[in-house]
Point group: C2
């Protein structure tokens, strides 16, 4: 045996982070690339994560008064043109349907036929088509606020796709609301920002920094874009969600007008907001380790997996019966307001292979049950957040008493580790030299891990942003909102001009 | 006042059934046409129906061992060509993406740019792209059966769209499975047929006839297509779901091979099956009446709506408090394995308007609560399945005791009515004259109601099918499966040739 420690994922995070990410996805069997460039196939374990996210987030979206709807996949080309900035922002990544038939030609191959008089764009987002409906649905202040949401697929053509993080087609929810005054619309955008933050903290066990995007990074057509930025283990930022106060931009483009309380016709104020399957990519990069995926118990499709250790066929009935009873008892318990999710893996494959599969899939707890466990009544518990070989022995009743607490401890641990990581790699930086030094550690291959979130002063100019993007491939992730961390005025180290507060610079996915 | 009875929907079913259908959808605020031809906007109440269907059906699909996944929206053109019958069947209705950018030309307008080297088809169904993945995922009999499902949007270009029943884009679930032998694959297709039947009976309160499609009506590329056919109130058939035994057709086209138990390479046997938002259209047409939608309690997003009768502002707190308490008590009760779903309509609009809104939306029970109800403790209950003005008085405790039973009675009633309707308009027909007479009552405008399900003998020939389609616009809906109703041999009344059993002829959506 080699004294060297073995890990399930090769390369390790420290060796080649991007490749480690791909390997974790493969090892946990989450997704794979399809033969359609940029489009992924989400496999059962990956889709189960998305279903967990959907279920929990949908609950929150509904509890705050939003109703689900479904709008068409296709957007008439002319709709997109109505809002100038919007079309500018999305024109370069729109998939366009131009024909509605296929016909076989003399060479025996199929070709597009029956051209459309007006091409259709596959929705990159639905402000324009929803705006057209809002203009029909809204007549008076009594129709406001109008609060809707949809779970849908969208398409934005990607030149450099990466599973979950950046795919041509992705799944998301998009909320769209209209209000009778600007304060309420902005408040909606901010409430959703809070809702997302709470959800991401409690269900993805992920701390995020929330703030406002600078002008250059705003959603095309928005008045203000609020964002949630997470830090993953190569210290880059991932924008995990956005919420936009759209002002009257889209209501003017779509003629969404209402009769106000004073009998005056007025354009409505709107908001939109969304999170996507990108959350799964972030989760992998934030919590995964060199043995694969690590899932927070709140999110994990399974919280406990039971692995029967069957050496002789005649032991099987007793072991399975014991396991079933244990499952029944566990399912009576709750964690985070839901029944404990537990499964027994009855497949007839080697115990080692089986165990490693669940390690790589990130399930919080594994319980091995063999003849010894049954005769002694002592269970062997293995935690995904501990070393692979570490085990805890608990008698059955102790284990049942402790289970919700154990899950809570794992949840807390995962969150704390991510929080420390974020803190450790967030820094106030006051000179240009320190700033360049902070970011220069990561090389151009993106394999090196370095940098982090630099809280630095900025004069608000486009020039500074562009220079830093060119030199260091970094961008302003956000102007922190509601955080007093760095909110004192100062001097921009790049221009010497005054700055109102520090903003966060980072490399980003 | 006119002595004539007034209904909420105009025209009535008997006056113009297709127009009545559109008006019910508008009155219940379920959906509307978008400006993209053939694509609908599913509004909150309509989408809530779909969510109910999804939730209940998804549960059943998972309970039978299927896992959810998500495959790309786009299918490479060449994939479609792999199965000859399949492409033949879908080529005429495929939306094709040919460009992945928009660019502004000198006229200031946007045009498609960056043509794709290989056009992409928007999935009309996913056998081909899923088959390509199956060929990668399946190596040995140990990988079988492979049982997956996805909830997705699909596009089939429609020249004569109709909300819910036939739309260019629609929502559905599509199951895809692969097996090690033909018996198991066929059994899978049949098990799902049973699952659908049970679901449609118990959750949509709809009796269906199940059977096999004749060759001419099979899914393109299938070996056998099993179907579920419902009868709606104009006596036409709606195909509400299909389940296909695909034989080795798609596995040969996609090279899905596995090493069997004897070490021999073999092509897998596959199945696929789906139901769609068409279920909602069927539900409306089957159960709706001249006052709008009628929802079975199992499916209805709300089972009880409380309508506060507030005449004076000072009564409001007492009434709302009483209503909230009532809701709390009701929510402790269960019906069909779920908590009772109840809501209070607090909107400040006239009681009559409010009441009619919920009638049109089909909610099973309405409870009006005013000062009188509070002081007497006697509730006024109105049932959607009774006359609008009919009411039942029950004291609070009686009502709570009776509520699950009431819902069950309504559920049974809706089912029984649909079942009687189906029986009343299903007939054994033995002569050509009677057959033509049976179907001739409905005129070419489709506004007249007539015909039904004709159980007649058929010699199995394409000629007879085509002649009847031409003369009467009818098709063979199915060759009934597992029903002994009409399974005796006989003579085809159209050709005089022998027939093995009766088949069902009907007009269809």
């Amino acid at each position: 045996m080699s004294p060297k420690k073995e890990y399930a994922i090769s390369p390790k995070r420290s060796e080649d982070f991007p490749e480690w990410y791909q390997q974790v996805i493969a090892a946990a069997d989450l997704a794979e690339n399809s033969e359609v460039r940029g489009c992924m196939i989400i496999k059962p374990w990956g889709y189960a994560l998305w279903e967990r996210i959907q279920k929990q987030l949908d609950l929150r979206i509904k509890q705050t008064g939003h109703k689900n709807v479904y709008f068409p996949l296709f957007i008439p080309l002319e709709y997109l043109q109505k809002e100038a900035e919007h079309v500018e922002g999305f024109a370069k990544e729109c998939a366009v349907v131009t024909h509605h038939k296929l016909e076989k030609r003399a060479d025996g191959k199929l070709y597009p036929a029956s051209p459309l008089t007006e091409p259709l764009v596959i929705r990159p987002t639905s402000e324009t088509i929803i705006g057209a409906a809002f203009s029909r649905w809204i007549q008076s202040y009594r129709d406001l606020p109008l609060l809707i949401n949809q779970w849908a697929n969208v398409v934005r053509w990607e030149m450099r796709p990466r599973l979950f993080l950046r795919t041509t087609e992705f799944l998301w929810q998009e909320g769209h609301t209209a209000h009778a005054n600007p304060e309420e619309a902005r408040q909606e955008a901010l409430s959703i920002l809070n809702l997302y933050e709470e959800f991401i903290r409690s269900y993805l066990a992920l701390p995020v920094v929330v703030g406002e995007k600078p002008e250059s990074e705003k959603f095309p057509g928005a008045d203000t874009t609020y964002t949630l930025e997470a830090m993953v283990q190569d210290r880059k930022a991932v924008q995990v969600g956005t919420s936009h106060f759209l002002g009257q931009n889209f209501s003017k483009a779509n003629n969404i007008r209402f009769l106000d309380r004073n009998g005056k016709m007025e354009f409505a104020w709107t908001s939109s907001w969304g999170v996507s399957t990108r959350l799964i990519g972030t989760l992998i990069m934030a919590h995964g380790d060199d043995n694969g995926l690590v899932l927070p118990p709140t999110l994990s499709p399974l919280q406990v997996v039971i692995l029967p250790l069957i050496k002789k066929e005649e032991e099987k009935p007793t072991i399975l019966e014991f396991a079933e009873k244990l499952i029944n008892q566990m399912e009576k318990l709750e964690f985070a307001g839901e029944k404990i999710r537990v499964e027994i893996d009855k497949r007839e494959i080697g115990g080692g292979i089986k165990s490693w599969e669940w390690i790589k899939k990130g399930v919080p707890l594994r319980i091995e049950i063999g003849p010894q466990e049954i005769s002694s009544g002592i269970l062997t518990i293995k935690r995904r957040d501990k070393e692979v070989k570490e085990k805890e022995k608990l008698d059955l009743q102790q284990f049942l008493d402790k289970l919700p607490f154990l899950l809570s401890e794992i949840q807390q641990g995962i969150y704390s580790r991510a929080e420390s990581f974020l803190k450790d790699h967030s820094r106030f930086i006051d000179t240009k030299e320190d700033f360049y030094e902070f970011f220069s550690s990561s090389d151009s291959s993106d394999k090196e891990i370095g940098g982090g979130f630099a809280y630095a002063h900025w004069d608000g100019s486009r020039e500074v942003e562009e220079k830093l993007k060119e030199d260091l491939k970094i961008t302003i992730r956000c102007i922190p909102y509601k955080s007093s961390y760095g909110d004192e005025p100062g001097i921009c180290p790049f221009s010497g001009n005054p700055s109102k507060r520090r903003v966060i610079f980072a490399k980003a996915y």
